[in-house]
């Protein structure tokens, strides 16, 4: 019964496999049966952080509410001269200062005070902008452009000597390049480029001299696809003009005698852009979104020539799937991107429907780009439905929805839940299926109450622990984490990811409908092991208020072992949950032993 007392030799058969390198990001192209653990089969609302961990994305907090000054649905936001300038769907223009105080800066009344009969813009779904000589030019493709001055006075852009805007083009897109204001997206001439007089924003072809304004039709340069210009941007010393299926690189500032003679420097086929707002210049690269994914242009170091690259190769199918159902109009107006300089990211948001009233979510494709570290990692952002975005001079991001602006959190001023100060979840931390919660909220200033939880999901590839044919026995799981969020870790084995015996997810209590099905048509996950943890920074009893963990739960800061017993040939880990607290996963370790080849 009790065995012998004879001591055995000291041996330890356990091996430890640790995953701690996550530079690859989200990858939907490669089969996850043959993928390095630095990639993720799913990386939702998490990203590869600059410190090398997988971090939960930040949340958003209410920054400014334009309701009281009459603005409805914001379609545009732009940081300008310490204010965020916004345009709503009815054509009203507002501004918010750094404290979130809002001002109405252009409507029919203000317009009529400038000149009898002058009116605000007509209802608009699209606005673009560019700063020129310290002033902000706004275009919408329906009305003549507007000019916002430093004192926030707004008027129609005009030729100063004549005080006329007769020759100012109506255009959707505007950008500043090399002392010229460039406009495109003229509804009457969609392939025409309007280039202003050098050094002035209101003097255009047709205005009185001195004037070197010029127009340039690019239609005949387009080798395939529509000749409608979809966007323009300045990139180093080049003007980038995009079409659906090609990109034209132009040089401005070339003169023949006194006539401005723009030059087409290069035509790059098979790369294009769906929308002007997807063009995002990062310094050495410019990124944009076409119907295939996200290409980039970079300037060669020696020759200076522009070379294309497809940055989104690993997630192209996911982008294509999201873009697939959208009409051309939706592609031109409702897709947009924004640079998050503080986190070295570019974010593209794509709606799930073409009509605004049908859109329930704008799925985000976030690209983390750390050139020095050779990190190019994508992740998927869910639960958002912003209609516009802006970035302040300090690099802070702002998103608009309805008549409100929300500030995106960052390391210096973090926010860990969505729409803090505006919405709150049910008492069980759940929210409505359209990603909204209760409004108004009970206690806007209490971050434990206010804000919606961020649902996150990180699914690693299958791993054979470098011994494909051998049976592995796992004993314990160890995690290094930061933050204090709760999260669940699942382990799947032997290529069994879903429970194919039932369709749909069960209720939270594990029950399903009486017909044997669950929610949605998605198959339910079928983990062999699943355990809830709390991140290593969670406080002890009393550190958390009522409704939270009271410092309880399985702290990953505890170096004692968590039993994780299982046998497998292949394994896959998944981290998921929904939280209003910070979370970073730094590493995951599996204590295991390698066995024979016969699976029991």
């Amino acid at each position: 019964m009790y065995g012998s007392d004879k001591p055995l030799p000291q041996t330890n058969n356990v091996k430890v496999a640790t995953v701690r390198q996550f530079d690859g990001g989200w990858d939907v192209v490669d089969t996850d049966l043959n993928l390095s653990s630095k990639y993720a089969k799913r990386l939702r609302n998490m990203f590869r952080a600059p410190d090398g961990s997988i971090q939960l994305r930040y949340g958003t907090a209410l920054f400014a509410d334009f309701t009281n000054i009459g603005l409805l649905d914001l379609v545009f936001a732009k940081y300008y001269n310490r204010f965020i300038i916004v345009v709503d769907r009815t054509g009203l223009i507002g501004a918010a200062n750094g404290a979130g105080t809002v001002y109405l800066i252009f409507d029919d009344e203000i317009a009529s005070q400038q000149s009898v009969g002058l009116e605000q813009w007509l209802p608009t779904d699209f606005v673009s902008s560019s700063e020129f000589n310290g002033e902000l030019v706004l275009c919408n493709g329906t009305n003549k452009p507007l000019l916002v001055k430093k004192n926030l006075s707004v008027g129609y852009l005009q030729d100063i000597p004549t005080s006329s805007n007769t020759y100012v083009p109506i255009a959707r897109y505007v950008c500043t390049h090399d002392q010229y204001l460039v406009m495109a997206g003229d509804p009457a001439a969609p392939s025409l480029l309007h280039i202003s007089n050098k050094g002035t924003s209101g003097t255009w072809l047709g205005d009185a001299a001195p004037n070197d304004g010029v127009q340039f039709d690019l239609g005949s340069f387009v080798p395939s696809g529509s000749s409608e210009i979809t966007g323009i941007a300045s990139f180093r010393d080049k003007l980038v003009v995009t079409f659906e299926e090609c990109v034209i690189i132009m040089d401005l500032g070339n003169y023949i005698e006194d006539a401005h003679n723009p030059i087409v420097a290069d035509v790059i086929p098979n790369y294009g852009a769906v929308n002007h707002h997807t063009l995002q210049a990062l310094g050495d690269d410019i990124l944009f979104m076409d119907i295939v994914g996200v290409p980039s242009l970079a300037r060669a170091l020696i020759s200076g020539s522009i070379t294309p690259d497809r940055k989104s190769q690993l997630i192209d199918p996911a982008i294509q799937e999201q873009l697939a159902g959208l009409t051309t109009g939706a592609l031109r107006e409702k897709v947009f991107g924004v640079i998050n300089r503080r986190d070295n990211q570019v974010l593209y948001l794509v709606p799930d429907a073409s009509l605004e009233q049908d859109i329930t979510e704008r799925v985000g494709f976030m690209f983390t780009y750390l050139k020095k570290l050779k990190v190019e990692a994508w992740s998927e952002i869910r639960g958002w439905n912003w209609t516009c975005a802006a970035r302040s001079s300090e690099g802070r991001l702002f998103f608009g929805k309805g008549p409100r602006l929300f500030r995106y959190g960052d390391k210096q001023d973090p926010v860990y839940a969505d729409q803090v100060g505006y919405q709150e979840p049910f008492s069980d931390e759940t929210i409505f299926s359209d990603n909204t919660g209760w409004t108004p909220i009970a206690d806007a200033d209490n971050s434990w109450v206010s804000g919606l939880p961020i649902a996150f999901d990180w699914e690693l590839p299958w791993s054979d622990l470098k011994k494909r044919g051998n049976v592995k026995t796992s004993y314990y799981l160890g995690l290094d984490t930061a933050g204090d969020a709760e999260f669940a870790v699942d382990m799947f084995i032997d290529n069994m990811l879903y429970d194919t015996s039932q369709t749909g997810e069960p209720f939270t209590d594990g029950e399903i409908f009486t017909d044997g099905t669950g929610f949605d048509s998605e198959l339910a996950y079928s983990p062999a092991l699943s355990m809830d943890f709390v991140a290593g920074g969670a406080g002890a009893y009393g550190a958390s208020p009522y409704g939270h963990l009271y410092g309880d739960g399985r702290s990953t800061a505890d170096e004692r072992l968590y039993a994780w017993p299982c046998q497998f040939k292949l394994m896959k880990l998944r981290v998921h949950g929904a939280t209003r607290r910070p979370l970073s996963i730094i590493s995951m370790s599996l204590y295991h032993a390698i066995g024979g080849i016969r699976r029991g």
Binding site: Y2, G3, Q10, N12, N13, L561, Y562, P565, A593
Partner: protein, 228 residues
């Protein structure tokens, strides 16, 4: 409080978990807890069956019903017939024997010795565990038997009445041996368990016992000690 060292199942699981250097707490190690509970139950069963541990023994007094041979009340906290060490009838100093399987006492005819027979597991009054033959015997029985606490391993708050160090070491040894990842750790736990069992046995060694229960008093010239 007597026997204050005894622990309930939850506390024993925690003690075992500590020995295995796993994170401790109710519902923390959800994948090792069931195995540890089973291992504790196994070790308890084995250790308790090792001998008639005095602290687990009790004597119940019951009255025979005079018609079917069973007593009139269930034997509280006595789980099985094999937990009964001895049954005494009225003032007799010798225990009742088991009914011989080669004699037909149940016919109730001819000469027969008063004896006991276990009840089958599906008997209507199985909680009384045995009957006396002849069934018409009347009188009082004194039943010396081993206690098994009610819901001992189904209710984690019920105290498990045995040396907790022994149970924790044994269960940890069993768990670690099944893992098989560190033989030294296994050997250490095994040694700890063996030592605990040895100590438990030794703790009852030097108590005097009565050699011949029919004598009215202890002998004055010498004493017999209880040894294993």
């Amino acid at each position: 409080m007597a026997y204050s060292r005894f622990k309930n199942l939850t506390e024993l699981v925690d003690a075992t978990t500590r020995k295995l250097r796993q994170a401790v707490g109710a519902g923390v190690n959800i994948y090792s807890e069931p195995s540890l509970k089973a291992a504790i139950e196994d070790i308890y069963t084995l250790a308790v069956g090792d001998r008639w541990w005095p602290h687990l023994m009790t004597t119940l007094t019951r009255t025979l019903d005079g018609s079917t041979g069973v007593v009139t009340e269930d034997l509280t906290d006595i789980d099985e017939f094999t937990d009964i060490r001895a049954i005494f009838y009225n003032g007799e100093q010798r225990q009742l024997p088991m009914q011989p399987h080669y004699a037909n006492y149940n016919a109730g005819v001819g000469a027969q010795q008063r004896c006991v027979e276990p009840l089958p597991y599906n008997h209507a009054n199985v909680g009384r565990l045995f009957r006396v033959v002849p069934a018409t015997t009347v009188g009082t029985l004194y039943i010396h038997a081993r206690i098994t606490p009610n819901q001992i391993f189904t209710n984690p708050e019920v105290v498990v009445p045995f040396n907790p160090q022994l149970l924790a070491c044994g269960a940890a040894w069993s768990y670690a041996a099944s893992e098989g990842i560190n033989n030294t750790h296994v050997a250490k736990l095994q040694q700890e368990f063996a030592d605990a069992l040895k100590g438990e046995r030794a703790s009852y060694r030097d108590m005097g016992i009565v050699l011949d229960p029919r004598q009215a008093s202890f002998p004055t010239e010498w004493q017999e000690d209880w040894r294993y």
